[in-house]
């Protein structure tokens, strides 16, 4: 927090062209703390890994040089090599697409289903609200990992299946937030004004209530993104995700487990990447939430 004054002016100077025109709108987003900037950098680089893996590494993620098996991290192999001589860094880079797209699917599932549940129950009220909130209670009552496992046992193993399973586990959180936000915004003067000036239920909900609930939902979405990365790597580790030789982060750590006595890099380094991404997502979420309150 105490970093803001020192970072604010210097950051504003980097965008002099736009700053004088619309100061109130442009300056505020630039007042970021260093840790938030760092977090954005982490997320952006992992997104870049997922989009253009070939730009960051030329080594293949699935075939390796048998002669170079179990090499320690070096200038050539940043994260070392595994038992079949595959470049671990290349596998981490190529694996990012699985974790990121999985987390994106999970957050989308949670966001869409949860917001729908919460917004409808908050807007309609009465018996519908009671019934929908009991559904949410049931979802909350089951520990999230067990809920995901129940979905996995029904849908079967695979990347898409575990992404959906992780998403289902976050529906309740989104539903509760959306409901409380809708109830809050509904009570404001401008929504009443929109009704008074002839707005109908759906239009008011869509044009006024939902947009004004978005900051809190965005903060939760960022938080759930980190949680989803964690949960997906956990399910991958347990072996419910993509089969080998897919370079999924959790699966990589599971495979490296057999060499824990001799090759520390196989488990430690991919795990550190997961920690960095989750930390960054949580940090960004906290930053969005703080801006929402400001």
């Amino acid at each position: 927090m105490n970093l803001t004054p020192s970072v604010g002016p210097s950051a504003a100077e980097t965008a002099p062209a736009s700053a004088p025109d619309r100061p109130s709108l442009w300056r505020r987003p630039l007042r970021l703390e260093i840790s938030t900037l760092l977090s954005c950098l982490v997320i952006l680089s992992v997104v870049a890994w997922a989009l253009v893996p070939g730009f960051f590494t030329s080594a293949s993620p699935v075939t390796g040089e048998a002669a170079d098996a179990l090499q320690e991290p070096s200038a050539q192999y940043w994260f070392g090599t595994d038992a079949t001589g595959r470049d671990v860094f290349s596998r981490v880079v190529h694996g990012s697409v699985h974790s990121l797209s999985g987390a994106l699917v999970a957050v989308t599932v949670g966001l869409v289903l949860g917001t729908l549940l919460g917004a409808v129950s908050g807007a309609v009220g009465g018996l519908v609200e009671d019934a929908l909130m009991r559904v949410v209670d049931v979802l909350l009552a089951v520990p999230s990992l067990l809920l995901s496992l129940s979905v996995v046992i029904v849908l079967g193993f695979g990347t898409a299946q575990i992404a959906f399973a992780v998403g289902v586990a976050s529906v309740a959180a989104f539903a509760r937030l959306a409901r409380s936000e809708v109830v809050r915004v509904r009570g404001t003067d401008y929504v009443e004004a929109a009704y008074a000036s002839g707005g109908r239920f759906h239009t008011v909900l869509w044009r006024h209530v939902l947009p004004n609930s978005m900051t809190a939902v965005a903060a939760l979405a960022a938080l759930q993104f980190g949680t989803a990365i964690l949960a997906i790597s956990t399910l991958g580790f347990l072996g419910y995700g993509a089969p080998p030789p897919t370079p999924e982060w959790g699966l990589m750590i599971a495979e490296g487990r057999d060499y824990v006595a001799t090759a520390w890099w196989l488990t430690t380094l991919p795990g550190l990447v997961v920690v960095a991404v989750v930390l960054a997502a949580n940090r960004i979420s906290a930053s969005i939430a703080r801006r929402g309150r400001a």
Binding site: V135, A141, P143, L149, S150, Y240, R257, V274, R283
Partner: protein
């Protein structure tokens, strides 16, 4: 009294809904677990044999009869039979429960100690220079994959330092690393609550008065922080229980310990629906009961809530 009744009724409704959802999702699906397992052509079973097997598992009757039968069974503690091994699920769970209880209990106590240490150090004036670091510890703890932490601990303590033997550790030695693994993620929310409570206590006017009368910093902390932190911690009790269960699944898998978590992991791997269903419903029951008790305890613990709770909710 009507509040208590309404709250109990709500808990029963949620449990019944959870049971119904689990039943619809896991048992009443078109291809039930028994079909999936025994219709495999490699087993070479005749249709009559499959029909007989379906009868023994009780899946050959219409869904509503199955529903009533299963519900009565669950109420009387009969969770059916494991599709994989044929053993009664009740026995499997009874066998696995002590190990997990021990792990979860020790993990929770360790988490409490860890959280207290982090919270106390991060509000200690002499450590102000590393306060930022200490305050970010909880957010680091929740960002660490539990399975990775377990492997990391094995790597450091068993292989690098040789402190905990990998093969045939003693009963106490074998518990140290799993308990620590489980405790770290649980300690994060606890540490956050405690830190906030300590900060809050210091902003309250009565503290200045008590300090001025000569009370030491520690005396104020121990007397007031615990009281302040109790309610928010209780609110989290259900969530913490869920975290313990999820953590146990991963921890027991990583350390190869027998327990409910391992049972769950194997049930999913073997598509053993009956076992998973029982574990999920038991966990939901405990969660609902914990929250029920907490809700009923609130007015007892905090006199300010006594009037409100009767009227609202």
């Amino acid at each position: 009294m009507s509040y208590v009744l309404r709250r109990v009724g709500q808990a029963v409704v949620v449990l019944l809904a959870a049971f119904t959802a689990a039943f619809v999702l896991l048992q009443a699906m078109p291809g039930d677990a028994v079909m999936i397992r025994f219709e495999n052509p490699e087993l070479g079973l005749s249709p009559e044999q499959i029909a007989a097997l379906r009868a023994t598992y009780g899946v050959d009757v219409p869904a509503h009869q199955q529903y009533a039968h299963t519900l009565l069974g669950f109420l009387s503690g009969d969770f059916g039979h494991s599709v994989q091994s044929g053993t009664a699920v009740r026995h499997l769970i009874a066998e696995a429960l002590p190990g997990t209880l021990q792990l979860a209990l020790l993990g929770f106590v360790t988490a409490l100690v860890l959280a207290t240490a982090v919270a106390f150090l991060s509000t200690y004036p002499r450590l102000a220079w590393i306060r930022g670091l200490l305050r970010s510890l909880p957010s680091l703890f929740v960002s660490v994959p539990v399975f990775w932490l377990g492997i990391l601990l094995i790597q450091v303590f068993s292989f690098r330092l040789g402190l905990v033997p990998v093969i045939n550790p003693g009963p106490v030695q074998g518990l140290v690393l799993p308990v620590l693994t489980l405790a770290v993620p649980i300690s994060a929310p606890l540490a956050q609550i405690l830190t906030r409570s300590i900060d809050e206590v210091y902003t309250q006017p009565f503290v200045t008065v008590v300090r001025a009368k000569g009370a030491s910093r520690h005396w104020v902390l121990w007397r007031n922080v615990a009281k302040n932190a109790l309610l928010p911690t209780l609110t989290m009790a259900g969530v913490l229980f869920g975290e313990l269960i999820g953590g146990a699944v991963v921890t027991e898998t990583v350390f190869g310990r027998a327990g409910i978590g391992r049972l769950t992991e194997q049930a999913v791997s073997n598509q053993d629906v009956a076992v998973l269903q029982a574990v999920v419903l038991l966990a939901a029951t405990v969660f609902v009961l914990v929250n029920l008790v907490v809700d009923l305890l609130y007015p007892v613990l905090d006199p300010r809530l006594r009037n409100k709770s009767g009227a609202s909710v």
